[in-house]
């Protein structure tokens, strides 16, 4: 019987958020994603954490990966020219560190695979020089520079670029990645995690999830079958898609729709996982008008194919599924905590006592938001 516990499908995601802004260490999120060990294959894991750099909350925190010292040097020259570097330091790691805790998962073999061959991991806290923002906003400027680094420098990669947040990712099982990056020592009010079973792109450090741009982070289980058009749609707005993976389009689409087009997260999610015409045709007038306009105007942003996604941003966490729910996602609440996970077990593992647990319907959005006073 025990053998039947295996679910040999690709990827798992997990997210947790304190809506009152309480900061928690990374142990819980590591346990949650560790329990779903079998959904990954050790070729990628990662975490996004919000609220981890309170002392540098006003600076853009760039988490960088370099393949060579040479690349680091070149890229640093570039950063010096384009930003004011307030602080730069190596991202602390625990070489050889592995996850050794017990979880309720019976068959998983933890702890035998320490992280090897990491790139040079460095973080920079950056201010945008005032004179650079005469014609563009700070965010606009940062996006442009992130795109430039990722496309210009072969051996340098921006893993995350938001304020008071960061992405920690690499090749390996996520629980070991978590221990490698010492996530037990960081405190965040939102944690998201991803375990990867790569099929469409090679396992490389930059290709692990989450994908980040500014304070957006995406962890994603699935495959975007509409990638071809989503990519070309984004390119018309100046985005450069260089990461050889479909997940980055989700991050950029949110950036486009929410930050640049000023749509609410709900409306943006309606564009990405639109209701079917058969349902739109039955909506009351006002809603019908809105839903049809979204589909007509944002057709290039419609995501198709199987996915469940957790989007993190500095004010909250958003979970949603594809239009016919081809990938699993369960949500739960306990007090001020909101949980999202590929499997209910991933939530129960860290919070057995839930007030509420549900599986959101296809195409519906679950939104966690920081309370206004926070």
């Amino acid at each position: 019987m025990r053998c039947n516990c295996y679910i040999p499908s690709g990827c798992s995601i997990s997210g947790m958020m304190s809506e009152s802004g309480k900061r928690m260490d990374g142990n819980a999120i590591i346990r949650s994603i560790a329990l779903m060990h079998d959904r990954g294959n050790g070729l990628g894991g990662g975490f996004a954490a919000y609220g981890i750099y309170p002392r540098h909350a006003d600076q853009f925190a760039f988490h960088m990966m370099f393949d060579t010292k040479q690349a680091k040097k070149q890229c640093e020259e570039y950063l010096k020219d384009t930003f004011d570097i307030v602080l730069d330091e190596e991202i602390p790691t625990r070489p050889g560190g592995v996850f050794e805790e017990e979880t309720s998962g019976k068959d998983a073999e933890y702890g035998a695979r320490p992280i090897t061959d990491p790139p040079i991991l460095w973080r920079y806290f950056l201010d945008v020089p005032e004179e650079k923002t005469t014609f563009v906003t700070e965010d606009e400027y940062v996006v442009k520079k992130v795109m430039e680094i990722n496309s210009k420098f072969d051996s340098a990669f921006v893993a995350s670029s938001g304020k008071n947040m960061g992405a920690f990712k690499g090749v390996g099982y996520p629980e070991d990645i978590g221990m490698f990056y010492k996530l037990d020592e960081y405190k965040a009010y939102i944690w998201t995690a991803h375990s990867r079973f790569p099929t469409n792109t090679p396992g490389w450090w930059g290709g692990a999830h989450p994908f980040c741009l500014l304070d957006w982070s995406i962890v994603h289980n699935g495959e975007i079958s509409s990638y071809g058009i989503n990519k070309r749609y984004l390119e018309t707005f100046g985005y450069k898609l260089e990461l050889r993976t479909d997940t980055e389009v989700i991050a950029y689409l949110f950036d486009l729709l929410v930050r640049r087009h000023n749509l609410s997260v709900e409306i943006a999610a309606k564009a990405l996982a639109s209701p079917f015409w058969k349902d739109i045709d039955r909506m009351p007038d006002r809603e019908q008008k809105i839903a049809s306009a979204i589909r007509q105007v944002y057709g290039g942003a419609l995501l198709n194919g199987p996915f469940s996604v957790i989007l993190g941003h500095s004010r909250g966490m958003v979970g949603f599924n594809d239009r016919i729910k081809l990938r699993p996602m369960t949500c739960g609440r306990a007090d001020d905590m909101l949980y999202m996970s590929s499997e209910e077990s991933g939530i129960r593992e860290i919070e057995p006592d839930l007030d509420e647990v549900w599986s959101p319907k296809a195409g519906t959005v679950v939104i966690g938001e920081l309370h206004e006073e926070v």
């Binding site: 495959e223 058009i229 194919g305």
Partner: protein
Amino acid sequence: MMSELPAEFIVKIDYDRCRRCKRCVMNCSFGCMQFKDRVVPEHKNCVACHRCATFCPESAITITRNELAYKENANWMPEIRKNILKQAQTGGILLTGMGNPRPYQILWDHMLIDACQVTNPSIDPLREPMELRTFLGRKPDRLEFAHNKDGEIDLVTELQPQVKLDVPVLFGAMSYGAISLNAHRALAMAANRSGTLMNTGEGGLHKDLYPYAGNIIVQVASGRFGVHSEYLNTSAMVEIKIGQGAKPGIGGHLPGEKVGEEISKTRMIPVGTDAISPAPHHDIYSIEDLSQLIFAIKEAVDYTKPVSVKISAVHNVAAIASGIVRAGADVVTIDGFKGGTGASPMVIRDNVGIPIELALAAVDQRLRDEGIRNNASIICAGGIRSSGDVAKAIALGADATVIGTAALVAMGCRICQKCYTGNCAWGIATQKPELTRRLDPEVGAQRLSNLLTAWSLELKEILGSLGVNSIESLRGSRERLRGIDLDEQTLKLLGIKPAGIGQ
């Protein structure tokens, strides 16, 4: 001068089977079948329209090529010599009908479509919704919303007029004059049933078809035949015809003998006069002139309908299309060099223009590079033969496709290429009452809408196998196409990878 042309076809009658019912004689509109105690074919008059063979109750008629009409020669092919003989005899331009028959490479047949396996599931169109709904018209780049006083969200952006299609396949522009009123009726009825559009072509709209306004594109061409305010407003969309794939840069000519009472009324010209469409619009000698006409039409329809501009696929099509969008067109229709015609100089049809596949790819990419792709829909016309072609065109970037020849074939056309003679035995490209009555509009409409139903089902199967459930996820998704037997430059122009390469 006596014709020295040998017969192109040989009509064989199996006299053992023939019961001398004369049905073939009655059906032949080209004067090939004669009755002299028994059926005697005049081979030279046969055009291989297959009307006689189709209607022979005894299956006694076979039509074959006149194999050695011309002695074999790899350089001086029969077609070439036939044309020289004709011109030596008449001193005139060779006329022809239908699309380019030459064996140019068909790029559709060098593109293959992707499908899902394991990592992304394919979707069963019989069980899940599969959406083909398409909207033609100019879209804004973004939407704006605001909260109303009840705290609800309202759409602030006013959308420009959009035309809804249930299937991304339209009927091509074919004028009343080039084709019969019955054929027009069949197209209008089928468009209505299938949730798509027919196109009047440049010959105006007969009053009988006014009830189908919601399914009609009314065309404004260089001759301005039948164009008046009511005409413009009896439509879903207005199209300015600049060019046609079969005859880029060339006008049109409907001979006076075809201009009877009804066509005269519809085109607003006297009975029996030639209807000549000039090569250019004489009020459009530049892009700014085009812009003025676009807005004149928009004024005339009070900005309630999208305005399309149709051009032929020529070398510089991408830049021209970009200009057209910037001039205010809501839809750009590109007609490839395999597109059909009622009558065209053969030298133009067979030698001018470029393949629609390349033109479409270039236009879509150009509009994207300029950030104006959302500002106009792209319609792809000229050489669409199957739902596979439709899917590939949409993946290259078309919003919708057009079928002209395929629609005629559905109504009975055998592509004999004699449309310009007015003798169409199938009652389609003719105005002779004894011939036009051969086409029952009801039957024609049924066959046309059957074709669109079949293609819709096939398109849904393709979408399902691609793992997407909405046409917009295929539109412009060139990643789902691969090229086969194409050179590097062509692949680059089409924006697709060669088969064998993954993501």
